[in-house]
């Protein structure tokens, strides 16, 4: 989709939600009473915060407790520049930074509030994005407490636990609805943007994301910063709505309320966030009134904790799961899957073969015509040594794959085949050895750089992006290729799906496919990277003989279309024999034989390695 289409879809979806909310709000407030107006206002502020949370937590899968800290920073930032000078003179006589003389209008103050929050947020975000996982969550928790402590203790600046009041109450309904609209559009747009899709990939499977060239840091950091900006907007508006701010408004307690709103509907979609916000707000209000009626205090807290627990135990995906309003809007599939300029698309089909050198033309390989590969380099791994503790997994292993060649890597269990793959693709560090693609030394490169360099892989244990559709799995890799491998021709997603027999199931969730289709999907995704080399780790594992035979054809066809070389591990020697031009046999971390398939089958060393020798050493 082009940028214009994406933004258009975001605006439309946002407009629909806004419309629904406006109608509901109008009906509700027509019942009369300032209390109802206030509730709608509260709901709108909460909505903006939750949308901000959705942008980060929903898309990266990293739980954050710290966003309220930035709401607080924005609120205090606004307060300190908006409170009239006269009031500040009495309430905050020792204000540092010359703030005592500053008095700004609503718009400037809001901007300043957001800037302050984003500035601090950007720095904290570096730590969060680098750490990932549980460590990132703890860092956000640390941020929450640090800001809380600073605000409570830096009394000259913040008046401590008592908080600030006297902020002009300039937030109107119009501003709130506008903010809600902005938040909705940003949340939708981010989710559909390239960086947003990359963030989602990191959420689905970190290793697979790296394997298609996605750097884990940037999508997370950008998601964080954007989310901070959105929640800061909410903070700035809220403080101008109620006219005061104090640390009690930003505690972990309040955080629960917001998290409950996020997860109750389903955190992975904007739809879920909106529905969850409305449901929880309404429920909260109902319980508040029940509590008032029966004179039970804190009933809403009970409701919230209970709902959160129930959702986690029974339906962790949220009430709506992945149901998404934006997903129902029509997609224009006629347009090319990835935006490219015309010249590049013209070269995307294979051209007649061009022998790279005379030696290769005369070589024993009988592979059929290949396209002129973009990277003319040969993939080599030499003298690789890997030790895990005291155990030597690889002991001077080596392998070489030429462009357009299919090399099979075989050997008994524990021979080190997957370890060799992991060394080549950057997942495992070798103690010795060199990995090169042409002239590029890939030896110590991280997995995403290896992928960008032109090496795509599949995994022994199958790593798809499980909650994304089949199409999206492939599109992500294609988007990554367009961004990080600009020299290669654009991948045709529709064609790749068709080649893999996946066109009929393109819109289904990847995790719902049958096993054989999942394997083919992984291959199609790897191909979407337009790699110079495909590394396939046991692609036929678990397949029947018939499926394995089909896989031979698919791998051959894929490699041919890409003009790529292939290195494949498999235990099904029938498959390997049929597909390989050349076979390398690994045993105990070393190469014990290599050559043409029929020669390998008869090599006594190989037979012994597989079938074993009897007690007399005879095989």
């Amino acid at each position: 989709m082009t940028v214009a289409v994406r933004v258009g879809r975001s605006v439309v979806a946002s407009a629909v939600w806004l419309g629904l909310l406006a109608v509901a709000a109008t009906i509700y407030t027509s019942g009369g009473g300032a209390a109802r107006d206030l509730l709608v206002q509260e709901l709108l502020v909460n909505l903006v915060v939750v949308l901000g949370l959705q942008i980060f937590i929903g898309n990266t899968g990293i739980l954050s407790f710290g966003h309220l800290a930035f709401v607080q920073l924005a609120a205090y930032g606004v307060a300190l520049v908006m409170i009239p000078v006269a009031a500040k003179a009495t309430a905050l006589p020792d204000l540092p930074l010359g703030l005592g003389d500053v008095e700004l209008g609503s718009l400037s103050a809001t901007v300043i509030g957001i800037v302050v929050a984003v500035a601090v947020g950007a720095v904290v975000g570096v730590a969060v994005a680098r750490a990932g996982g549980l460590a990132a969550t703890m860092i956000t928790l640390a941020a929450l407490f640090v800001v809380d402590q600073v605000v409570k203790n830096w009394t000259e600046l913040t008046k401590g636990a008592g908080g600030l009041s006297g902020i002009p109450r300039l937030t109107t309904n119009t501003w709130l609805w506008l903010a809600a609209a902005v938040a909705l559009i940003v949340a939708h747009a981010f989710r559909e943007s390239r960086i947003g899709r990359f963030a989602v990939a990191t959420r689905e499977d970190e290793i697979a994301a790296s394997a298609v060239g996605i750097d884990l840091f940037w999508p997370r950091w950008i998601a964080w910063v954007v989310s901070i900006a959105v929640v800061a907007l909410a903070g700035a508006l809220r403080v101008q709505m109620i006219g005061s701010t104090n640390p009690k408004q930003y505690t972990l307690d309040v955080g629960v309320l917001l998290l409950a709103m996020l997860v109750a509907g389903g955190m992975r979609t904007v739809t879920g966030a909106v529905v969850g916000t409305v449901v929880i707000n309404v429920g909260n209000e109902i319980f508040r009134q029940l509590g008032d009626h029966y004179e039970i205090e804190r009933l809403p807290e009970l409701f919230l904790g209970g709902v959160l627990l129930l959702v986690m135990l029974v339906r962790p995906g949220g009430l709506l799961g992945d149901a998404d309003l934006a997903g129902w809007l029509p997609r224009r599939t006629a347009a090319p899957a990835v935006r490219r300029d015309a010249a590049a698309t013209a070269t995307s089909r294979p051209t007649p073969p061009v022998p790279v050198d005379a030696e290769r033309a005369a070589a024993e390989t009988e592979s059929t015509a290949v396209a002129a590969p973009v990277d003319e380099g040969v993939l080599t791994a030499t003298d690789v040594v890997v030790r895990f503790g005291g155990y030597k997994a690889l002991d001077g292993a080596r392998v070489r794959v030429r462009p357009g060649e299919i090399v099979g890597l075989i050997g008994p269990n524990g021979a080190g085949k997957t370890t060799l793959f992991n060394v080549v693709t950057g997942l495992v560090a070798a103690q010795a050895g060199v990995v090169k693609l042409g002239h590029d030394d890939l030896t110590a490169s991280p997995p995403h750089m290896v992928a960008r360099g032109g090496l795509a892989r599949t995994f022994q244990n199958l790593r798809l992006f499980p909650t994304l559709s089949v199409r999206e799995n492939v599109e992500l890799a294609a988007t990554s290729a367009a961004r990080f491998r600009p020299d290669v021709a654009a991948p045709d997603v529709a064609q790749l799906l068709a080649d893999g027999g996946l066109a009929a199931v393109a819109e289904r969730r990847a995790s719902t496919l049958d096993y054989g289709s999942q394997r083919r999907l992984e291959l199609a995704r790897a191909a979407a990277l337009r790699p110079a080399f495909l590394l396939l780790d046991e692609p036929t594992s678990g397949m029947s003989d018939r499926e394995s035979a089909a896989m031979v054809d698919q791998v051959r066809a894929t490699a041919r279309n890409l003009g790529a070389g292939v290195l494949v591990i498999d235990h099904d020697l029938g498959f390997i024999t049929r597909i390989s031009d050349h076979i390398v046999v690994l045993a105990e971390g070393k190469v014990i034989a290599e050559g043409r398939p029929d020669a390998i089958r008869q090599d006594p060393a190989v037979v012994a390695a597989y079938l074993g020798r009897d007690a007399a050493g005879v095989s």
């Binding site: 899968g61 739980l63 730590a127 680098r130 750490a131 990932g132 996982g133 549980l134 460590a135 969550t137 703890m138 860092i139 928790l141 640390a142 941020a143 407490f145 640090v146 402590q149 600073v150 203790n153 830096w154 000259e156 290793i207 972990l252 307690d253 629960v256 998290l259 997860v263 039970i296 205090e297 804190r298 009933l299 807290e301 009970l302 919230l304 904790g305 209970g306 959160l308 627990l309 986690m312 135990l313 962790p316 895990f388 997957t418 992991n422 997942l427 995994f459 022994q460 244990n461």
Partner: protein, 296 residues
């Protein structure tokens, strides 16, 4: 010298509570890969039980064991009612579940008992002073350090010498392999929760001895310190949890005493958290490594 020793004792006193709680958190993480945000709620349970019993006229000789027993039972209850359901869920779900449980606990106390602080009497000797080698100590500090030392020794014994402890250690390393040896999965997990409850109960006694009051959010502050301490030490590592807890307690006291005057002195907690965040960046797995590489 006097101030130094007193600072040390003060720090270890605080750190002991953190260490006991952190140990419980690390223990549960080891067998379930769950960071239990609801763990410190066991202190709240103990506090209310103590308050309830003291209004019935019972003295501390009865309160102390009651606190510990109630903590054990409450811990086992949380496993049965909530955590058993999410044993195989994602880390995100497990984390939010424990978080939800913590909040629910706060709410339950607030709604069904009282939102206000209920004070009762601590042991009469808690704040007496004792002179040792010319330095004045408060009895509660000495009791805290002494009790913690005994409990840690007991813990070490249980985990190094008993079959149960062996089962927990094995299950933490490789749960399925432990099952194959004949270890019963449920027993190990429930046992871990029970032992963690015992540790939390002791921590509760030591805390309440000093400030005997019960309120719904009593567990909130110790929780964060304990989780942080467990993570600093490396989740799943016993020695790490203990070192992490003690270090945290010392850091708090030392920073408060030795930071420059003015604003910074009041920002002790903030500094501690910044240091911790820096640690996570530098070494996300904590000080003591226990984890093994992921299989690709």
């Amino acid at each position: 010298m006097n101030t130094f020793v007193q600072t040390l004792v003060d720090g270890i006193g605080r750190g002991s509570t953190y260490a006991l709680l952190a140990l419980g958190i690390s223990l549960i993480f080891g067998v379930m890969h769950l960071v239990n945000f609801a763990h410190a709620e066991l202190i709240t349970v103990g506090a209310y039980v103590a308050y309830f019993l003291s209004t019935r006229g019972l003295g501390w000789w009865a309160l102390a064991p009651a606190i510990v027993v109630s903590a054990v039972l409450a811990s086992m209850l949380t496993e049965r009612v909530a955590f058993r359901w999410v044993r195989t869920a994602s880390p995100f779900t497990m984390l939010l579940t424990s978080f939800a449980l913590e909040r629910l606990s706060h709410a339950l106390w607030q709604v069904f008992v009282s939102p206000t602080k209920q004070s009762f009497d601590g042991p009469s000797w808690a704040f007496d002073t004792v002179s040792l080698g010319g330095i004045r100590f408060e009895v509660h500090d000495l009791v805290t350090i002494g009790t913690t030392a005994v409990v840690l020794a007991l813990t070490a014994f249980v985990f190094r010498r008993t079959l149960f402890g062996l089962s927990v250690r094995a299950a933490s390393e490789d749960f399925d392999a432990a099952r194959l040896m004949g270890v019963r999965a449920n027993r190990v997990i429930v046992g871990a929760f029970a032992f963690a409850g015992f540790l939390a109960g002791v921590a509760a006694v030591l805390t309440l001895m000093r400030s005997p009051s019960a309120e719904p959010t009593l567990g909130a502050d110790p929780l964060i310190k304990a989780v942080v301490a467990a993570i600093i030490g490396g989740l799943g590592s016993f020695s790490g949890a203990v070192v992490g807890g003690l270090a945290l307690g010392l850091a708090e006291v030392v920073l408060r005493g030795y930071l420059p005057e003015g604003v910074f002195e009041r920002l002790t907690d903030a500094f501690v958290f910044v240091l911790i965040a820096l640690l996570f960046i530098a070494r996300p797995q904590g000080l003591f490594t226990v984890r093994s590489a992921e299989r690709v």
